[in-house]
């Protein structure tokens, strides 16, 4: 499993990537680095020279051990952090701050307790001063989509963790962004709820045709959901491999028992073993 950097480059870049590839890709990241100043003044590299791209409508998962800079990567793409070096583009335009064409789902639902579920879903509409009446209808449809139609008037603390995260997904979709950035959205949920949420996310993705960048530390989750899995190593964080998952959507939970599914999972796991991230 040793690649030359050229081979990796070819695997990571999307197929029709050429000189004009940047404009066609939903997300394009070139030689991106991010360092933080550490306590002794020296620089801690969170992300180093990372390059990848995501096609319009593609579901790409980034999998890596904790502390490998996955969340930093997402914050840069969401426009919350400036990169130290390199470039990042969303749909052909460079990222220089938060923007309207993405929806972000964080690790925790981050719902505002003084707003009802419906009002929480409408938060982006209020912030971006979009038409209220029209989006109220959209919000109710989205709550229907995530199975929370009966909870519109409830408050976040009256809902379970999984339900809260579903509300957060509805909120990320309300302004109909073409791209979704998800940062370990189901990390805090129990295994059964998590599988349920994976199925629902797949359904939403197939229905809404969004480009999704999904960050997780669960290899099976990454393989189950995505078209392509980007493997990220830690210290410094960089993408070391891209694995295409050739299992047709919609996938059912039983797909996890398919030999090709298991082969992909174990090959990715093998890469982490080789780097000593996981115990053999």
């Amino acid at each position: 499993m040793v690649h030359t950097s050229n081979q990796i480059w070819q695997k990571i870049a999307s197929a029709e990537d050429g000189p004009t590839g940047i404009t066609r890709d939903a997300i394009a990241v070139r030689e991106l680095s991010k360092g933080y100043p550490s306590r002794d003044g020296c620089c801690v590299q969170a992300i180093q020279q990372t390059t990848f791209s995501v096609k319009e409508g593609e579901f790409v998962a980034v999998v890596g051990p904790s502390g490998c800079g996955k969340s930093t990567l997402l914050k840069i793409l969401a426009g919350l952090l400036p990169p130290s070096k390199g470039e990042a583009f969303l749909r052909g335009t460079p990222i220089n701050g938060p923007r309207h064409d993405i929806g972000v789902v964080f690790q925790s639902p981050v719902l505002l307790p003084w707003r009802s579920i419906l009002e929480n879903v409408l938060l982006p509409v209020d912030v971006q001063r979009l038409a209220g009446d029209r989006h109220r209808k959209v919000a109710l449809e989205l709550l229907n989509l995530v199975g929370l139609q009966e909870f519109a008037q409830r408050y976040p603390w009256e809902l379970s963790g999984g339900m809260q995260q579903r509300a957060a997904i509805a909120r990320a979709l309300i302004h109909d962004p073409p791209m979704l950035l998800m940062d370990e959205p189901f990390g805090a949920l129990d295994a059964m709820t998590r599988e349920q949420m994976n199925l629902e996310l797949q359904r939403i993705w197939l229905e809404r045709k969004k480009t999704v960048l999904f960050i997780t530390h669960s290899i099976p989750e990454a393989v189950f959901l995505s078209d392509r899995v980007l493997v990220m190593s830690s210290r410094p964080g960089r993408i070391t491999d891209a694995v295409t998952v050739d299992i047709p959507h919609p996938r059912r939970l039983e797909a996890m028992n398919l030999p090709e599914f298991c082969a992909i999972v174990s090959s990715i796991r093998g890469q982490f073993h080789a780097k000593g991230v996981l115990d053999a």
């Binding site: 914050k75 969401a78 426009g79 919350l80 701050g97 938060p98 923007r99 309207h100 993405i102 972000v104 964080f106 925790s108 981050v110 505002l112 307790p113 003084w114 938060l123 982006p124 209020d126 912030v127 971006q128 408050y155 603390w157």
Partner: protein
């Protein structure tokens, strides 16, 4: 079932302690000018209200307290917000605010009376000055308490600083601000009474002083009783507002939940 029992118990405890006080004062033959028996205090209270004297002064003190509370709260909120939102204001002006607040207001009251006279203006101003500090401190702490994840969420939605303030920082600060209101209301009452002591033409504080000159101890006790009941009622008003505003706050939710269990 439980509620009627609780009310009955409250009344019983009150009656028992009043009766006990009456018995002790009578048994030990304590002179009225040292400690009046509850019955004497009750008579003084009844006479005060029957003659219309107490209503007049009570209304005066209540007006001062409420005006002082409103003025002090507005001042506290503005100063607190300025300090919390602007680090230059914090660096250059906050030390003066703290220095000013370290001065006991009792020591300031005579000056205020010299500047603004014996009228209501002085008492309202003193009440406001005493009431504003808890609000400054709590507003600062509250506005700085906004959760980092929530700030990031708002930023990712392209919210401006003003939007983040109104939609996130201010609501997040409300539990602190409501606690500040609770203290400020009582402080406003104290500030008003202190100003009345120093010099006033009306109010319960002035009434206590004039009764003190006349050795009317039972009367003083009746006014003190009124003051404490007034304080309690004002505090309850704030708590009622707090419950409506902070229905989402864990402390209020817990309280409502407990009451549901008791009932």
């Amino acid at each position: 079932m439980h509620k009627t029992r609780d009310v009955a118990l409250t009344v019983a405890i009150f009656c028992a302690s009043v009766l006990l006080g009456e018995l002790i004062v009578r048994a030990l033959e304590v002179p009225t000018y040292i400690l009046p028996a509850p019955s004497k205090v009750a008579i003084a209270l009844w006479r005060g209200f029957a003659s219309g004297l107490y209503q007049k002064h009570l209304f005066h003190t209540l007006t001062e307290t409420l005006l002082g509370f409103l003025l002090g709260s507005a001042l506290g909120l503005l100063l607190g917000a300025a300090v919390a939102l602007n680090r230059y204001v914090e660096y250059f002006f906050y030390p003066y605010i703290v220095m000013f607040q370290s001065v006991p207001k009792v020591a300031l009251a005579p000056l205020i009376v010299v500047w603004f006279g014996l009228g209501m203006k002085s008492q309202v101003l003193n009440a406001a000055l005493v009431a504003c500090f808890p609000l400054i401190v709590n507003t600062i702490a509250g506005l700085k308490s906004a959760d980092e994840d929530r700030v990031n969420l708002m930023r990712s939605l392209t919210a401006s600083r003003t939007q983040i303030f109104w939609m996130l920082r201010l609501p997040s600060a409300l539990p602190f601000i409501m606690a500040g209101f609770e203290v400020a209301m009582i402080f406003a009452l104290i500030g008003a009474i202190v100003a009345e002591f120093v010099g006033s033409q009306a109010g319960l504080g002035m009434l206590i002083q004039s009764m003190n000159f006349n050795m009317d101890v039972a009367g003083q006790f009746s006014v003190l009783l009124m003051l404490s009941i007034l304080g309690l009622l004002l505090n309850r008003c704030i708590l009622l507002i707090r419950r409506r505003v902070l229905f989402w706050d864990p402390s209020v939710k817990q309280q409502i939940e407990q009451e549901r269990v008791v009932l």
